[in-house]
Each structure stands twice: as structure tokens, then as C-alpha cells.
Symmetry: D2
Subunit: 407 residues, 4 copies
């Protein structure tokens, strides 16, 4: 039985894989802004009464660092966001430039092993591939994190994967145990891993809590999750639930509550940005679509006609738009329909729940918990070790946990 | 502690106030059709595994009768529905004509006391007002039900109010106790009641379970609910939740789960039909809008800008269409939006939940329960004695009850 | 200069390729119903003041026949339509059964030469391929039409192609002249033609007006259009403009009128039915998408990001639904959007314009016109020999023509 | 016959009534930005090939001044716009601050005579009413414009009314001739005028071209339009067509082209901002709704069920959103529907067409034209002296005019 967490002692490191992407930039800008009282903590559950009385790491004690393959600075990334979507207000950006620069100093060169053609194309040529042997690469990643913690005098650090969706990795027995995975790595079999494998393994070796926010299947493989558990670290994934799928998982139960049979549920997502470029690649898209499409049958309890489309619309940038059409029948087999259009900014929706999970994963670690954090299932499209996809059931897992955490 | 219900013995009377309206006609046609195996029981929760092992009145044991102020026959009403919306399939109508005729024989002249100008206009002139003293009218209504039960050899009967939305009744101390209400009625103060008052009082005097499916505030007044309790009868209301409000109550919690602040929630309902005519009258509309508008603040926990519009669009008939626009802000106070369009047929959505409630009210009565049936709150826009408007919390009240009912 | 048409003398034959499909069935039912005064001529332009004073073939003088590869009767097809979409009212169907039966007697076995895998799968196995040599097949089709005209004592007949969208045919020099095409046919090179080639050639050989309502590229090839012109017959195509594309062509000019730059125009079509099955085949879909996608650049005058999706949603049957999202920028480069949802029944939208074109093609023939009927461009996604895709410019071509036709 | 305009000689004054409102601010910022090459002229028709070869006043020769009742500076108004909708980019605002300040120096105290309760509430108390006699007020307004022209050495100046929608003025014989209007003014009958009457009269007395962009009915009354004509000045109004109505007038003809009968057209507009506050007042809203609602019957040629709703949603600011639902029937009287959602920023849509009209009114004046500028009808919801509401017919009026203007 996990003990009550003690008040969060001092600073908490937040190590981000993909540290200058749109999501990470938004997250860092927002965290700094909230810490300095320049913005309201809107979007953060960990700043609502849900977490009253629970000793979470304070917003002004978060210390950021990470790995990144893109070039440029955080301020440049923030300016790009201002120009494209306006989600980072320009006057705020001006006030926060210096803080961003100091985070830049903590961002190291990321890993580019077998990342897939589309991700590689987005990266400056000289950095399009890591040339070191795999084993050396894992060690380097691990050392980067350790140096950061030492330099910043951090006793706790949560690792978060915010990199782009990778092509699916074909899994086999070599991913099943840590011994076999290590042999594969020592043999430098580069096609047997993705960058997320390297990142997750480094975190697991360090015994640090790990949040896997992307759908990539190469990170939380059995070899690595077992190692997290052995090293006493909690983890959770995968694929943050921020837009259309969030709405789906809130709405689908309604049809069950009324015995209205859903005949077809068509979902069309359009988005621009790097995320859109990456998902326009059929290889990477498959990883995502599988993640988005499974939940309806699980919630409703019967097979039905579904479709999830993702199309690249450059002009939208990060302003994701989704149209869903739900065809259902009721009494006397009469067919009816509903449709919704969701217009959200992905980074704006994702950033606060990443911060929430960082703080909650740190809480769990301090409470002595390890393994999959089932109470975070409401934040994921494919929650590890949780069968409930119904958002409301997932919410109850979280509220029950918080009640216990309050003691 | 209520005992387990025994297997439903024999036939169950279903007495409908508003027995030839679109909803009642759809309900009767559907019930007959399902009983004869001509249609699937789609839409009925009482035919799903939720109710497995619970002794409900079988579909082929329901016996219908009721009061009505409109002229015409059930078959004529069904034909009108076929022509307007096609929801009652023509070939089915042909097969079921004889059954409808036998129900027609059990429909008595309804009550038209102070029904408001718009409802009165919809009724043939000769029937536009009941001329008997109030007391005589209550007695007549009660006797009609008793005769039906006797004629049909029914020991159990559930009363259901499916009449049009009435203008709001100004309530005062005379509605507070049964003694004062009876004095008012004996004094024939006709503006102190509406038809639904007369109907509900008759049902309460007979100690029959009562389902109040409309928003009218004149039925379940304290004087009458107390009488129901004294006579050991269960009851529930008010205002069936079938469309836009249903979606609202399923969706609004999602914004809470993410600490996304809803800034504005605009809802526009358009509909034709008698229902639309009645709601086009500002007096009657007010009753409805109040019922639809309150839940958001209750679910979200803070005041917000809301609007509920209802407009009469004759060409739509009963195919209600609603457009909702939700404006919300998230991280960094960034504003986003979602919108949905709901296109449903009101009678098709309402009919099965009325049947469900009839069977569940009968179950409750057999289990010795009286008073408000809180577990039916998920079916109502303004559930009596229940504070939860969140559809998911309401659903848990129902599933918990069914678990207990299964024993 | 074409002379004025004389009053339409007697009956007009209407020979339909695909005579028992959903569109043809709807068209025949509707034409019979209007001719007998059972339905209003809603949807028909040829029954509006646009055609006042122009001697068109009267609705009650249209005589139907055609080719079909499906089995079953017109009444069965009409019943299926009633059950699926309700667009053909059941009581009307009852009244019109006898007429449908007499049309059934004029429907001959269609041609199945190189129709593509998906169309072949929809046809009863025994009829999945025409086995005669191509030349014999063309002759047979021609003779079927001649027999019909003789039997029904028709001096005029318009041929209409309403068959399913075929896979694209690879065109080459052999399709360029009638001599080469005839050589190809005599050599029985079956992969060089589609069923629509055989149908169109037969019509051209007979010198009958021809309306090509599908996007298939195998019918109005140069060899055949030249033959139509030589034989003095008018023709027009291709791909009827009935839904999403119709709206696009009405709406896109608005952005030009305001110098609002369209950045992206995404269109998603969902539909069921045989049409949906056929278009779910990537081969057949390509034919369609090209037809739907070209017009925006032509109307707006600059290249832009567009997407046209077509997905098969069986539960919708013929109730086509389309969602279009238009992203555009205006003053100060500010981005805005509009979206529309179109919910129409394809056969209901197409049937009247096919009847209109039959009557107008007959008018043109009587006026001595041959070659492409440019004034019918408003009815087509890919109008032959017309560069205007702007619906309003196309409309002016029609109104100018009608003014001239009135004299 | 108007002569060809000579090349525009020197600077052109632009005098704006409502000079610091959201629309005026956006217009001035944009004009300055385009003149200095900081923004593309997107949205301006007068910068497209439509106007090639026509001697329009160059963008960098426009000189701004005006009347305003609000307090504050243009820069403050621009900052407010940045914060509310982001439509004026912050870095641009920084670059343009000095220019805005110099325009501020040319803005005089506006007129507040009988403006209606809601407009008065929006104005600082000390300025909520003009206290001078009406005659003195008209003279003052006129002198302000003359001083501006003298100070800036302008020989030409176009006046534009961009003030808020006023409550409808009850018109009578006193508004019919200039003599009677002058008597009314000399008698200081303040309830017989609105601020727009005073502004329009001043412009007419000066013989300056006048663009009336609001729906207020108090400006272009017969007395004043006659005076404009006598003084040789062109004018046009009223109520700029920028959003939902623009779409309506582009889309409605499509239904006519197909003989699809529109049964109902429901339009719901939601907006925030001062514009929204003003229109939330039923008095002011009536003026607007009449303007928006008339066109459908005119375009379609038959009466139909329509509704135009305008609701105040503060969180939207100037980002107007409209949902329109169109119910129509076609062949076999089958009912179908389409719906659209328009999401535009009103000032962004309006500003460029105001600039266009300023330049075109100046062109007309130089060509010696006076009276209503019928070729500008495409820019107005209620175009003066033009019966065509069909956007495409209106567009042809403009293109025909430009062809003539090019010579």
C-alpha cells in the first residue's frame, strides 16, 4: 500500500524528448508564464480543487531540459507559433525571452536512429541520423539527463516523450525481455529500434518516471516496462487524448445509455504543422489511426462501421479541425444523425495535461508507486493496462485516486 | 428496505394523458409492433442486458388507454406521422390498424381547463374548454381510469402525462397542501390549475404510479406529490431529456475533466409540429427554456453565458434539429470552439424511454417503493429530487438501482 | 442558324442504360407520377417559367425502355428504395405498380464488357460478362433500341447513360477516329472499351441524342463524338452535378468577388448504396474525384490546396452527406473559415435534371442542332466543350439559350 | 454620359464617422500597412485585375480623419483588437503607432443627438449627448470636415458612415424635402433625427461623396439624397454585406437554378463586441434584421419561412459566427437540407470593401457621376435603387461598370 506523499521537497526536473517542438514550446512558455503569475492556470487539473490538499511540485519549481533534433531556439519556435496560430501572445513572448534562453542551454542533441523517412526529412541534413553505435547512443542520452540533474541539483526528474509519431515498429521476441533488448542494442541492430526506444530505455535505466505522450509503439515495449517496474519507476502512455477522440469518448456512452445503435461513426481530422506533415505519411498515420479508432467498439460493446481520416491541410497549422458524423438508429429502427465540428489548438490542449501528468507522476514516485499509472488513463487514447475507454469511467479512476492521495 | 419484486403478474395498464399525440401514437404503434415481433426493441433499455433478470411487465402484456382532446383516430394520427416524417413505416401501419382501433375504444375525452390560448387553438372548438366544475372534472378523469382498469381486468396501471407543454402556472400556498388544493378545486378556481393538475391529482387519488414527461409545472406540485407518497405511489418527472439537452448533459462534463472554461454555450432548436406551434408561444416556451438552460451551470460549477432558442419551423415537423456552439478557453487563455448539430425525431427518441419508465415505475410499485424515482433522473431535463445533471452520474444511479433490483 | 422547333409531335422515347438502378427507378416512378398528376413537378426546370413558350415533349408522352445488368423488377427496385430512404412514398408505389411492370417489358439485358471487378461483383454471376464478340454486342444494343422504337411507334428517342462509374479507360489513338475504333471492335479487343463505349457507339450509329450522366471516360471519346456530329445528333456530358460539387460551383465565385484567397478547400463525401460500393473501389473513385476536384482552380484562377474524399458508409444508402471546410484569408492576411454540410438524396437530385436534359436534347434535335449541348453545362461536373465551371455563368448559358429558343 | 476619369491627382481625404470603432481602426491600420508595403492588399478588389487600367486614388495618397464619440486613441483601439481577436498583428501595431497618432490629431468630437439608449450607454457620460442646437451641430460637423480638407490641402474627400446601427427613425413628410428637413432642424426637433442624419446632411451640403455602411434608416432619406444629387455628389448604401448575408446571396440562386423549393431558411448570428451590444437592443436589432431578411424572397421569387436571429455572445468579440439551416424539397416532394457555419471577423471583412468603395466613389465623382452608385450594390444588404439581391447579378453590375470605366 503506497504511503502518503510528503510535501514536494524542492525542485522537480522535467526532461522533454522533443524539447523545441510546438507542444514542448507551448508547455514551457505556459509553465513559465503561470509560475510568474502572467497567465491563469487554465487547462491544468492540478490547479483545481481536484488536487486540493495533495502535495504536488509547485509550478515555480519546475526545471526544464531535454533532447531535440530540430535546430533553432525556443524563442524562434515561440515566434513561429505566434505567427501561425497566435496561441502564444506576442507581449507574453517578449516578457519571457530570457527564461526561454536559459532553458535552451539545457537542450541536448536528440537521437535519430531509424526515425523513418518523413521525420528525417524535417531535420537538418547534418543531424538526420545519429551515427554512434546504439549502445553508445543510449549511454549518451542517459548521461545527458544525469548531467542536467547534477548541474541543476535535482533529486527528482520526470521524463516525457513529446516527439513526432514514428512509423510502427515491428515487434518480436527481442523486445520481450530486457536481456534480449540489450543484446539487440549491443549488436547495433538499428532497425529493431526507434528513437523512442532509446529514450525510454535511458529513462528506465535511470529509474525515472516516464510519460509517453505519442502513439509510437517502440517505447513502452515489454522489455522496457519491466525495467521501469524493476527500477521502481512509474510510467504511462500512450497517445495523448486531446481533441476528436476526447469528444468521442465523452459522447459515445450516451448512445449506450439510450440503446441507440450507432451504425456508422465517421471522423475526419484536418491539420497542418509538422504534426500534419508527419501524419500525411501513410506509415506514420497508421500508428495514429489505430490509436484513434479502437475505442468505439470498446465503449459501445458491438462492432460498427467506423472511419478515421487524417489529412494534411498546411494552412491550418496547429489549429486542428475535426468533423465527425454519427449515424444511429432508434425506436422503430428509425435512422437519425448527429455531427460535430471540433476546432482546437492541439498544443494548447496537450500542454496542460502533460504538466498535470508530470506532477502526478512525480507524486506517484514519491508515494512509492511504480508500473503503469492507471489513474492517468483519461489522458490517453490507448491507456496502458486499462480497458475503459469511456471518458467518464476513466475520470472516476482519477478522482478515486486523488481521494486516496488526499488521505 | 424495498423487497424484491415478484414476477410481473399478468397485464399492465398504461394510461396516457395525450393519447393520440405524435409521441403517444408512436409509442403505441411501436409497443404493438415489438410485442408482435414486427420490430426490434431498439431504443428500449428495458430490453437490454441492463434489465436481465429483473421481472418487468412483458411488452405483450401492456394494455393502452388514455385521455385526449384532439379529434381523429390513432390510425389517422399514424398516417399523418407517416406522411410528415416517415418514422412509422407504411407497411407496418397497415398490419397494425386493427390493434390501433381497439386502443381508440379506450380513449376518453381529455380535460381542457385553463390550458392556455395556444393549446386551446389546436383543439376543435366544441372541445376547447371543459365546462364542468373542477371537482366533477377530477372525478370524471378518475372514473375513466377506473372503468378502464375494470373493463380490462387490470390490477396495475401506470399513468403517463404526454400532453403539450403548458404555460407556467403561478404557484402559491394553495398548491402546498392537499387540503388547500382541494379547497381551491371545490371553489372551482379554474385559473389556479392546468389540465396537468387535474390529471396528476386523479392519478394520485387512485394511488397509481405517475410519469410526468412534460415540463409543465402544474402537475407535480407539493400538494400532489405528498398525496402520491401518502397513497404509496411512485412518480417521476419532469420534461423528458431526448435531444439537445441529452447531448449537453453528456458533453459538458468533458470540459470540466480538462479544466477548459466554457465561456458561452449557445443552443438553437428548430422544430415543427404541434410541439413547435405550442413552443412558439412565448408563454409556453418559457416553461421549456428554463428546463433546458439550468443544467450547464450545475454540471460545470460556475456561471456562464448560455442561450437556448426554440423556433418554429413548420417544414421540419417532428424532425427536431439543434445547433449548439460551445466557446471555451484553455491553456494560455486561448479560445477554441466546438459545435454540434443534432438531427433527431423527437417522438422516436421519447417513445422508448416512456415505455422504459412505465415498466420501471411498475417495477418500483411492485417493490413497494413510493415517492420520486430518483434512478430515473437520466430521462429528465429537470429530475425531481436529484441534483445531478451530469448524464453519467445519472446513469450510475440507474445501473446501481438495477443491480439492487436484480438482487 | 438553328430554326425554331415545331410543337413536339407525339411520343418521345427515353432509352436508359442502367434502367433499373436507383436513379433510373426514381426517374421513371417520378415521371409516371407527374404525368398522372400524382406529384408536383418539383425539381424540373422544364416545368418552370424558364421554358414557357418552348415546345417540349410533354411529360405524359415519355415512353421508357433501356438496358440493365441487374436482375429484379422496377417495382422491386422501388420497394428497396422505399425501405432504404423512403424517397419513393409507399402509397405512390402502390398506385404505380402496373405502369412499372409495362416498362419492365421494355428493358433488355445490358452489356458487361470489361466493366471492372467491382461492377462485375454486383451483377448476378451468370450475367457478369457479355460473351458475344464486341461487334455483335454493339449491333445487339442498337437493334434493341430500334425494336423498342418500332414496337412503340416512336420517331424520336433520347439515350441516357445512368450506369455506375466505370474504372478509367486508358485512351489512345484507337479511340481517336471512328475508323480506328471500328477496327478495334472488329478485332474484339475487349480491354479497349467499357460498356459505356458500346452504348454510346450504338446511340451514335443510330444518330440519337445522347446524355452521358456518369464520369466514365470511355463513352464520349473523339471517335464517338465525331460520329454523333456526322449523324446530326446532339450529345452532352459528363458526370451530373447534383450535390457537393453543385454547392462548390455556386459558392466559390463569392470568394473571388471579395478577393478572399481560398487557402484550402476540403470536401468529404459519405454515401452508401451501390454507388458507394462502386466508388469505394479506388479504380472507380479516381474517375470521380478528378471530376469533382478540378473546378475550384478554374473558378478562382489560382492553384490551391484541395481534397475530395469519398467514403462508403453503408447505413446512409443513397442519402449522400458531404462536409466541406473552406479556409480562406482576407484583409491583413487574417484567416477565416466556413463549412457546410449537404444532406441530399442523390437520385432525387439527379432524376429531374436527367428528365430536363432528355427534353432539352430532344428540343435541340428538333431544332436541328448537333454536337455538344453547351447550354446544358450547368448540369455537369465536367461539361464538354465549356470552360466555365462557375454555376452562375453556366446558368446564363442556359437562360440565353432558352431566350433564343422561345424566339 | 460620364467622361473618363483622369489620373487621380494628388491626395484623397477619407472622412470617417465612427473613426475609432473596430472597423475604422482596422481599416486605417490596414490602409497604412498596405501603403507602406507591410501587408498584402488581400481583400481589396481595387487592387485586383478588375481595376487594371482604372485611375484610382493610390493607397499611399489616402489621408484619414473623422468624427468619434468614444474616448481613447486609435492605438488603444488597435491594442484592444489585438487582445480580443488578434486580427491586428502585434508587431505590425508597433511599427504603425506613429501613423495612428497623426490620424488621432484629425479626429473630432462626434455628434450624439437622439442616438438611442444603448449607444448612449457606450459613450463616456460627459459626451453622451450633444447639447448644441441641431443647426449649430450640422454646421460644426461641416466645418470640421472643411478644416481638415484645408489643413491637409485636399481637393477631394469621401465621407463614410461607420457608426453603430441606430434604432429605426420614424420617417414622415418632414424627411421628404430638404426645405422641410431644414425647417425641422432649425426648429431643433431633436427626435426627428439621428446622428447619421446630421452627418449625411453635412456631407450633402458640402457635395462630398458619401458611403453609408450601416443599416440606419436616418441618413439617406429623400431630403438628403436629393441634396446630394443637386450638389453633384454620388452616394451609396446601405448596410455592408460582409458575412452570413453575403453567403445567402451567393447560395440562394442555386436553389432557383434547380427548381428546389426552399421551405425554410433559418439564420442564427452570434457576435460580441460593441456591435453585439448594440444589436442586443431590440430597437437597434430590428433595423438590422429587416435588412438581412428581405433578400431571400427577392432572389427566389416566392414567399418562404425565414428567420434571422442575432444574439450577443461577449466571448466572441468581433469573430462573428453564423449558422444557417436551409430546408428544401425536390423531386417527389422529398425534403433535404443543407447547413453552413460561417466564422469570420467582421472588421476584417468590412474594412477592404469600405476602402474599395471610397476609391470607387472618388472615381465616380471624378467621372462626373452623381446619385446612387448602383454598381456598388454587391457590397450592400439593402442596395439603394437596385432590385437585384442575387450576388452574381450584382457582381455583373460592377464588372460591367469597370469595363466602361476602363474605356
Amino acid at each position: 500500500m503506497p504511503s502518503q506523499a510528503k510535501p514536494a521537497p524542492g525542485k522537480l526536473g522535467v526532461w522533454i524528448f522533443g524539447a523545441r517542438g510546438g507542444l514542448a514550446t507551448t508547455l514551457i512558455v505556459g509553465a513559465k508564464s503561470i509560475a510568474r503569475g502572467l497567465s491563469d492556470p487554465q487547462g491544468l487539473l492540478t490547479e483545481t480543487e481536484l488536487c486540493d490538499g495533495v502535495p504536488l511540485a509547485p509550478m515555480d519549481k519546475l526545471v526544464f531540459g531535454g533532447h531535440e533534433v530540430r535546430k533553432g531556439t525556443l524563442a524562434e519556435s515561440a515566434e513561429e507559433i505566434y505567427e501561425q496560430t497566435g496561441t502564444i501572445p506576442y507581449p507574453l513572448l517578449e516578457k519571457i525571452r530570457a527564461s526561454l534562453k536559459s532553458v535552451d542551454a539545457e537542450i541536448e542533441q536528440g537521437c535519430m536512429v531509424n526515425a523513418g523517412r518523413t521525420i528525417q526529412k524535417l531535420v537538418p541534413k547534418s543531424k538526420a541520423a545519429s551515427t554512434k553505435p546504439l549502445r553508445a547512443e543510449v549511454d549518451r542520452i542517459r548521461r545527458d539527463i544525469q548531467s542536467f540533474m547534477k548541474r541543476k541539483k535535482l533529486s527528482r526528474c520526470v521524463c516525457v516523450n513529446l516527439t513526432s509519431t514514428e512509423p510502427q515498429l515491428k515487434l518480436n521476441g527481442n523486445h520481450g525481455t530486457i536481456e534480449k533488448l540489450r543484446k539487440t542494442i549491443d549488436a547495433d541492430r538499428r532497425t529493431a529500434v526507434r528513437p523512442s526506444t532509446v529514450y525510454a530505455l535511458a529513462a528506465a535505466e535511470l529509474g525515472l518516471p516516464f510519460i509517453h505522450f505519442t502513439p509510437s509503439n517502440a517505447a513502452l515495449i515489454p522489455a522496457i516496462t519491466t525495467l521501469f517496474e524493476e527500477n521502481g519507476a512509474p510510467f504511462m502512455g500512450s497517445d495523448g487524448k486531446t481533441g476528436e477522440t476526447l469528444v468521442k469518448s465523452a459522447l459515445a456512452p450516451m448512445f449506450k445509455y439510450r440503446n441507440l445503435q450507432v451504425l456508422s461513426w465517421q471522423g475526419y481530422n484536418i491539420l497542418g504543422d509538422r504534426d500534419g506533415v508527419v501524419l500525411a505519411d501513410a506509415e506514420n498515420k497508421r500508428t495514429k489511426v489505430e490509436s484513434k479508432d479502437a475505442l468505439l467498439t470498446k465503449i459501445l460493446g458491438y462492432p460498427l462501421h467506423t472511419h478515421v481520416g487524417i489529412d494534411y491541410v498546411p494552412s491550418l497549422n496547429d489549429l486542428k479541425t475535426a468533423w465527425d458524423f454519427v449515424h444511429f438508429k432508434g425506436f422503430l429502427d428509425y435512422k437519425m444523425s448527429m455531427q460535430f465540428t471540433w476546432q482546437g489548438c492541439d498544443a494548447i490542449l496537450a500542454a496542460p495535461i502533460v504538466i498535470d501528468m508530470v506532477r502526478l507522476a512525480d507524486l506517484a514516485a514519491r508515494r512509492g508507486e511504480s508500473g503503469p499509472l492507471r489513474h492517468l488513463s483519461c489522458f490517453f487514447k490507448k491507456p496502458l493496462d486499462v480497458d475503459a475507454h469511456d471518458l467518464h469511467l476513466q475520470w472516476h479512476l482519477l478522482t478515486d485516486y486523488m481521494r486516496r492521495a488526499r488521505g
